[in-house]
Symmetry: C2
Subunit: 129 residues, 2 copies
């Protein structure tokens, strides 16, 4: 996997797993691939995987069973809350950054609308294939 070399890999791994939990690609109680397998999949060292998983275990999002494997928490509300947190983080970041670029509240909203609309038009172009 390709990583952004501007942010620590273990944080990017956490982000990937968070997203898979939130989108349901990883379901509550589901077993994760073995750490050694994850290391291969992500083309990264086992220690780096372990560092990511270790913090997520400490946070209660994963449950570790020595000799068996790592599992997604069964706590579904916790996962729902996680999604809210991740969304909120993103919103706070854009808002802060666009405000720092002197965009007003209205300009922020309309710029997002325009961006989404443009993305949509791009997708439409594929219909001509």
């Amino acid at each position: 996997m390709e990583f952004d070399d501007k942010v620590p890999i273990y944080l990017q791994i956490k982000q990937v797993i968070y997203h898979e939990m939130v989108t349901g690609k990883l379901k509550p109680g589901e077993q994760l691939p073995a750490v050694r397998q994850l290391a291969l999949d992500l083309t990264v060292n086992v220690n780096t995987v372990q560092r990511a998983l270790g913090t997520m275990i400490a946070e209660g999002f994963l449950v570790s069973q020595r000799g068996r494997g790592n599992f997604v928490t069964e706590d579904q509300p916790k996962i729902a809350t996680l999604k809210q947190q991740l969304v909120q983080e993103q919103l706070a970041t854009v808002y802060h950054e666009l405000h720092a670029l002197n965009l007003s509240d209205d300009e922020i909203i309309t710029s997002v609308q325009r961006y989404v609309q443009q993305r949509g038009n791009q997708d439409d172009s594929h219909l001509n294939d």
Copy 2:
């Protein structure tokens, strides 16, 4: 100044200066504080400042005159384009991330609207001081 220890300081310094150029706090042709002064202001090493400025000079946003100082480019259209780029980056990032969290286009727009609205209400509360 406080930095996010998850992203290199010299990149954060670039971001600050970019923002000051875009918002007009630093005007075209204006002289920047001396590198040693900037290092003091940002509570950072001179070399780190130099690393940030060096790349911005290479990018053409700053002009360096040995023995005199560093100056913002006189090229106003270049600065206008910079703002567009920075805004676009932010929009691309949120869109990508929120989509990865399974939000639809409409949900992305409405979530931004709700967020801005909530921020507005928070600000109103200060009027009661």
